[in-house]
Amino acid sequence: MTTTTSDRAVRGSRPAAAPRLPGLLRLALARTAWEVKGFARERDAVVFVFLYPVLMLAIFATVFGRQEEVLAGSGVTFPQYFLPGMLGTGVMLSSFQTLAISVAVERDDGTLKRLRSTPLPAAGYFLGKTGQVLVTTGAQTALLLLVAAVAFDVPLPDDPGRWWTFAWVAVLGTAAGSVCGVAFSSVPRSGRSVTAVVMPIVLVLQFISGVFFRFDELPGWMQQVAGLFPLKWLVQGMRSVFLPDEAQVLEPSGSWQHGATAAVLVAWLVAGLVVGVRTFRWRRRDDG
């Protein structure tokens, strides 16, 4: 040791004007860019979350026939009927599944703890996640619409009112899925088990919510169970965008139920937010 305390420049003991902390908007943008880049580098996740709905649409459309009508005389083809389901699934995967897994893994590997030790506010972290989900969902939805229109001749609406419905259903669905994903990230005991816990939920919801099968052909009790969860409403809202109004005969209720769709999605958004904020942890359970 060559230096003694008295020789050294000592900081902190001199008064200094406190520089301003970076603003939330700047941090949110920096975090969004970071999260998007990180997501894009997880190749397996990109392939799964991004291409899964496109692949499923292609498989189902091919199996059931591109030109076959869902109901004779309805003018609705199978690809057209499945497109809303795949859009809903895509939103759920890139919001709920991605966040439930990534937040749990980041809690487990110490990313969250490290961030907590910096002046990054919690809101900056969450806005970054939200930004990443919005970017992913937007790109994935655009890709799905393109494939559906070009490869499967699904007619896209030209009525602005329908695109408005599309916008609020997609945004509410993404928001509800995101907050529920963050809330759910505290459920698995570790980051290693999170995929195993999330996958069955996501799969079961897809089967009972009218993603893979015509919803009106499912047993009544299954429809009622599905009605408790947001995916069914998300998919139904998407059907109201991409199917003609005559196709309301394919709905068990006989109508698109926009009011109920908005109410259920908002209810899950609020519930997810309340639970998520109360249960969020920066550290692992076993970390004191």
Binding site: R8, R11, G12, L21, W34, P119
Partner: protein, 302 residues
């Protein structure tokens, strides 16, 4: 927010933290002045990490007075965090981005960060700047941890067991890095269970065992080491004799008068390790102590 002159960087009185029925920290006192490097030294489970994580604001104390840079970590905000640098104990995060990306990104969280490129140079990761963290060696990752801890230009840096798992060369280089930070005026609270690390880096060592401070002082004086009695050993009539004395020179002179060349002469002074083991309650048994390995032999005794 600025620190008022005179208040220490860290002030802890009577810190207590219990997990279940285990008292992890049991009435610990600690004071770190601005500009100091203080090492918290102790065995695993002594309460070092619990203490440091309480100071960092990760854990809430059950009882006690805690002030870090003049604020209570349990309620301090972003402006306070901006003045701290934290290097956590072991990290497994940081995978899919490069060293350069990490350092630049974390710098954006701070109001007045250091130049990220200077920081990369300072921690010796220039050649690895474009490498993803996943591909770094353990020592290089730890340097990245330090880079992220100091890029905000902290007044106070916490280093929690920074060199665990390092090879000897990596440790030497790491110590140089810590000393450069200290020379730039950063106050550092270091936890370690390596005695040589504490001896090399710390102005003051605080020995923790069972959740409390059992000794503190400059490494050379720890436990009154300089005042400790030397032990003089020699062989006579086929048996080893040993005598503890405050005046070893006089004793050796007497022995020299008696024997001429004293057979098997050794003058032993306790090393930091002996003192430490005694402080934490694991007194080294003389039978196990290999004199050649851990004692200072008086010059001219051969």
């Amino acid at each position: 927010m600025t620190t008022t002159t005179g208040s220490p960087a860290v002030e802890v009185r009577g810190l207590r933290k219990t997990y279940g029925d285990k008292r992890a920290v049991d009435g610990l006192d600690l004071r770190v002045e601005h500009g100091e490097i203080v090492a918290l030294l102790g065995p695993n489970g002594a309460g070092k990490t619990t203490t440091v994580e309480t100071l960092e604001g990760f854990r809430r104390a059950d009882a006690g007075h805690v002030r870090v840079l003049g604020e209570d970590p349990a309620s301090a905000g972003r402006a306070w965090r901006a003045r701290l640098g934290v290097v956590l104990q072991s990290t497994e995060d940081l995978a899919e981005a490069t060293v350069r990306e990490f350092v630049h990104h974390v710098a954006t969280f701070y109001p007045a960060p250091r130049d990220p490129e200077d920081v990369i140079d300072a921690v010796g990761l220039r050649e690895k700047a474009g490498t993803r963290a996943r591909q770094l060696s353990g020592g290089q990752r730890r340097r990245l941890d330090v880079a992220l801890g100091v890029v905000g230009d902290p007044e106070l840096l916490f280093l929690d067991e920074p060199t665990t798992g390092f090879d000897p060369q990596a440790r030497l280089e790491f110590w140089d890095l810590v000393e450069r930070l200290r020379d730039e005026g950063t106050t550092i609270l270091l936890t370690t269970h390596y005695l040589d690390e504490a001896e090399r880096l710390a102005d003051r060592v605080v020995v923790v065992a069972g959740g409390r401070v059992v000794a503190e002082g400059p490494p050379a004086d720890l436990g009154g080491r300089t005042a400790r009695r030397a032990r003089v050993r020699w062989t006579a009539d086929g048996t080893v004799h040993e005598e503890a004395t405050d005046t070893p020179t006089a004793l050796v002179a007497r022995l020299a008068e008696r024997f001429g060349e004293v057979p098997g002469l050794q003058v032993l002074r306790p090393t930091l390790e002996d003192v430490y083991l005694e402080l934490i309650g694991e007194v080294p048994s003389p039978a196990v102590t290999a004199p050649a390995a851990r004692t200072d032999v008086l010059e001219g005794s051969r």
